[in-house]
């Protein structure tokens, strides 16, 4: 076990834990933001540099500070380590610089982009970025590549986080896409426009932190904040079947995996669940998904219906406060009175 102090909060974590995961164990505002790290993907992280932290004390044995900011997703904790994130002005400055770099070639076409509203880069830029850019040159442009009828690739929006490549590597068999070229001109692509026909290839959409890979079946259907996320599941022979349905009215516009508070997918879902099952009758509805209060999706999202129904049930049965009622199929149905 190693004792580590992050922004003045001390926690004991197992050896080999990264600073980022130690911060996540503490939770709250001190957790560094991430773009390329994904908890379910091995060897992810280390590309985007948004999770930079300052190590002001290396360890108990060697108390010298690390000479420059380190990527917290790739640096393991040492016993007695002291880390500064929000408390360090130079880290906030450095992170603003990283955001500026990430946005240097980003087209900022959020009004057109289907990811807008649930985009990690948007959130990162709002929270850590600066208002203006100093970049004066023409932004990168690419010729459009069709990577199949299910996934839309917008290479200009890509920040080269490698998450999709690692997804293709680790959860699909037979990788058909990767990063071509190097440095400034590197780009994500399928090799010679091979169609992506793997059962789990759709998960690349979910892991993409920006709008580079989006669902083609949802393309321009709606803005995400007009759709209502609902958790649902079904018995799927291929995957866990635990998904999030995005409703507009009675219609399921999109099916995605469930993401945790850090925007990382919890369970991989197969392409059947994602693209083929777009009827309410295909699913068992669990209830409204949890949406962070500061998310634009939370506008008109009545998540508290769940709590409301639980309260009504409790009152009706005369049970004491704190008693949990189960929410089964039809919990959202206003005609359902059981």
């Amino acid at each position: 076990m190693a004792k580590v102090t992050i922004d003045g909060i001390t926690i004991e974590v197992p050896d080999g834990t990264t600073i980022l995961n130690a911060a996540r164990m503490i939770g709250g505002d001190i957790v560094p933001p991430t773009m390329c790290y994904h908890s379910k993907l091995k060897t992810s992280g280390g590309y985007c540099r948004t999770c930079l932290v300052k190590v002001s004390k290396g360890s108990e044995k060697d108390p010298r500070p690390m000479p420059k900011p380190v990527a917290s997703c790739r640096t393991n904790v040492m016993d007695g380590m002291e880390v500064e994130n929000l408390l360090s002005p130079e880290i906030l400055e450095a992170r603003a610089g990283v955001v500026e770099f990430l946005l240097a070639n980003h087209p900022l076409d959020c009004p057109v982009c289907d990811q807008a509203g649930e985009c990690d880069l948007q959130n990162l830029a709002y929270e850590n970025g600066k208002v203006a850019t100093r970049y004066e040159f023409q932004k990168r442009e690419f010729e459009k590549i069709d990577i199949g009828d299910k996934i839309q690739l917008h290479m200009t929006r890509c920040i080269l986080c490698y998450r999709c490549v690692k997804t293709a590597d680790q959860i699909t068999d037979g990788r058909v896409h990767g990063v071509l070229n190097r440095g400034d001109v590197s780009e994500i692509s399928t090799y010679i426009q091979n169609a992506i026909d793997n059962d789990f290839s759709g998960n690349m959409i979910d892991v993409c932190p920006v709008g580079a890979l989006t669902d083609k079946t949802f393309r321009f259907k709606s803005r995400v904040w007009y759709t209502k996320p609902v958790d649902a599941h079904r018995d799927c022979p291929k995957c866990s079947g635990k998904v999030r349905l995005w409703y507009k009215g009675e219609e399921v516009l999109r099916v995605t995996g469930r993401k945790d508070q850090y925007g990382e997918v919890q369970d991989w879902i197969c392409n059947d669940c994602r693209y083929e099952k777009k009827n309410t009758s295909d699913w068992v509805i669990e209830g409204p998904s949890h949406v962070l209060r500061d998310s634009v999706i939370s506008a008109n999202h009545y998540e508290s219906l769940k709590a409301l129904k639980a309260t009504i049930d409790r009152q009706r049965k005369g049970l004491p406060h704190g008693h949990k009622t189960t929410l089964g199929h039809g919990a959202l149905d206003p005609n359902n009175t059981h």
């Binding site: 087209p107 900022l108 076409d109 959020c110 009004p111 057109v112 807008a116 004066e136 040159f137 023409q138 932004k139 990168r140 442009e141 690419f142 010729e143 400034d184 001109v185 393309r219 321009f220 259907k221 709606s222 803005r223 904040w225 007009y226 634009v296 506008a299």
Partner: protein, 201 residues
């Protein structure tokens, strides 16, 4: 039983002879009416006569086109989410090849409707718009006989190229200055050639 001790007993007084004639009161009232004939009338004879408006008057909306005539709106939905009256609805579609002269961006509003009965003309849609597409103008929304007519679609909102609507009064000098800067994608029309910087294969 009185609830408080502040209640007063009201007695209906018998009218005097003069009061019972009623004539003096009628004449007094008529005099007031007559005196108004000689006063200046506050109404204007619209549309023959148009009242002077503030330069930032917020009237009927316009959906702007750019200099080349392409629609600026890209159906991002920010106006609708900013609208406190929920008066705006839209449906987007993807621009097809050959439509570049009609729509600026690869997505456009196929349907764009403002319910003028709901609209409170607050101007938040204009403030939210990232594309300088929607503006409130100094035009007055015409009245109509049915509610359906008050839902304005794109046919009534998008400006015609031969009679463009000047909205420069509602744009700050900094914005007008920024629009001259052709380095920004925002200010380019499809006709402006975009030099390719990255060779692909």
């Amino acid at each position: 039983m009185a609830l408080t001790n502040r209640s007063k007993q009201v007695a209906v007084r018998e009218l005097t002879f003069m009061e019972r004639l009623y004539l003096p009161a009628i004449i007094k009232g008529m005099m007031i009416t007559l005196s108004h004939i000689f006063k200046r009338t506050p109404t204007v004879k619209y549309p023959d006569q148009i009242r002077e408006m503030a330069p930032v008057y917020r009237g009927q909306h316009v959906l702007k086109r750019d200099e080349a005539g392409a629609e600026r709106c890209t159906a991002c939905g920010l106006c609708a989410v900013a609208c406190p009256a929920e008066a705006i609805t839209m449906e987007s579609a993807e621009r097809k090849k050959g439509e570049e002269n009609l729509y600026r961006e690869e997505k456009y509003a196929r349907i764009y409707e403002i319910n003028m009965l709901r609209c409170i003309f607050c101007g938040l849609c204009e403030e939210a718009c990232p594309k300088e597409a929607i503006f409130l103008t100094d035009r007055i929304v015409p009245s109509s006989f049915t509610r359906g007519e008050e839902i304005f679609g794109k046919d009534l909102l998008v400006e015609a190229m031969n009679e463009r609507i000047d909205v420069s009064k509602r744009q700050r000098p900094e914005v007008l200055e920024f629009k001259k800067d052709k380095r920004h994608l925002h200010n380019l029309t499809y006709q402006d050639a975009r030099p390719k910087t990255t060779a692909h294969h």
